[in-house]
């Protein structure tokens, strides 16, 4: 029975004199090696040099803040439901008075954890999010020797207020069009109240 087409017949043919010298074979091998010196290198010096990434690369997640700096996530759990790897867990809490500048809605995520070892970076959480809060970015999840550091909490996921993460390339024209509609703006009253009190 023949399983593959790679079968070769083996013969016990003795080598000729020139073959027994091995010199032509050695020189041939040296030539191949030498030839590679003049070829362009396929590798790069990684940490100093980086390859270009696709603008829609799905890497480490970010929890976005809105223009006023308040967290957009309202812990609705849609991402956790959508997640096929069950990597997301969260706990919600109620916003107290005076925290309107921190959280956009009356409910917010007290804890929000993504297990990066479970995550398959499919981007379904981003698709499910009704608040435009979670996005995948072109940042890589850093390596570690331990498992625990791969459970990313809010400290690693929420974008720093002064170092915003640009996700504009991941937003489709449909999403941008959706945001333009005035009827769909959330929590405008709470913020306008806050501004009116601070101005007065």
């Amino acid at each position: 029975m023949q399983l593959t087409q790679r079968r070769k017949m083996v013969s016990n043919k003795t080598l000729s004199f020139s073959e027994r010298l091995y010199l032509p074979a050695i020189l041939g091998g040296m030539f191949t090696t030498f030839k590679h010196l003049f070829k362009s290198k396929p590798t790069i010096k990684y940490p100093e040099q980086k390859r270009p990434m696709a603008p829609v690369y799905r890497g480490q997640h970010v929890l976005k803040r809105d223009d006023e700096g308040a967290e957009r996530c309202t812990a609705c759990g849609m991402c956790a439901v959508a997640c096929p790897a069950e990597a997301i867990t969260m706990e919600s809490a109620e916003r107290k008075k005076g925290e309107e500048h921190l959280y956009r809605e009356e409910k917010y995520a007290q804890t929000y954890e993504i297990n990066m070892l479970r995550c398959i970076f499919c981007g379904l959480c981003e698709e499910a999010c009704p608040k435009e809060a979670i996005f995948l970015t072109d940042r890589l999840v850093s390596t570690d020797f331990d498992r625990n550091p791969f459970i990313y909490g809010k400290d690693k996921l929420v974008e720093p207020i002064d170092e915003r993460v640009d996700v504009s390339k991941r937003q489709t024209p449909e999403v941008l069009e959706f945001k333009k509609r005035p009827g769909l703006k959330h929590n405008t009253t709470a913020l306008s109240k806050l501004h009116s009190t601070t101005n007065a």
């Binding site: 309202t74 812990a75 609705c76 759990g77 849609m78 956790a80 439901v81 919600s92 809490a93 109620e94 809605e105 009356e106 409910k107 009704p130 608040k131 509609r181 005035p182 009827g183 769909l184 959330h186 009253t189």
Partner: protein, 303 residues
Amino acid sequence: MKVTIDGISLDVPQGTTILQAARMIGPEVAPPTMCYYSKLKTSGGYCRTCIVKVTKGSNQNPNPIPKPVASCRTEVLDGMEVQNVTSSEVLEARKGVVEFLLINHPLDCPVCDQAGECHLQDLGYGHGAASSRYEFKRREYEMIDIGPHIKLHMNRCILCYRCVKTAEQITNGRVHGVMHRGDAAEISTYIEQALENDFSGNVIDVCPVGALTDKTYRFKQRVWFTKPMDAHRNCKTCSGQVRLWLKGEQVVRVTRAKMPGMKWSPLFAIHADLIIKKHRIGLLKVPLKFNGIRLYHKTITST
């Protein structure tokens, strides 16, 4: 009396409404309802979600009724023929009703505790358009605490009157109702008076939207992450039919277990499926397991 709904015929006693007859046939022909609640007297007739088309009035007068009728308030006549989902006119009209219901609804489902078991969410998903055409400011109210355990979020209210009628019919001397009229109408306790009655917690369960929510459950969990478990608690005042909502082994919420066919009345609360405040709060503290031994399953006996 013979009535035909969506091509399915049924014999019903006199005085049955079209909606009740449709529910007897089954959920596939029963029109959706928002304000109608079978256990309440004089409920229904506010939301117009249950409209159907009557293509043949009766055997005596076979003319069709020209406009869609509210099936919860229209009694069947002998030989009546009704179209619900088979009529595109009804579906189109219902879509309009949904749009009206959603005009002032804040659509804050990601925040709302009712999401996942909200009738309006189901209705909007099934019959509404994907987007709203309404671009004006929605009416807005401050949140009110009705008593220590109920939160009223008037923005979400669709004025179905279910809670008002519940409070009216199961308690004596109600303290909450609807104030003002038309667009300004709002559910209110008179001068913010708390609902003190032992049975007042049941208004949370009858609310079809997230206007009346349980404060003990507020923002604790999303409904779809919890598992329901029916249990029974011996009680002298109420039926003790409770539904425990579990997250893992922890009871995060207690509601009334729905028992079909039970009559509501303040005198016979034990025979209804109502539960008192004590269970709603008290059962939250009862652990499901103690030292690895399951304390109760399906049945809880009072201690």
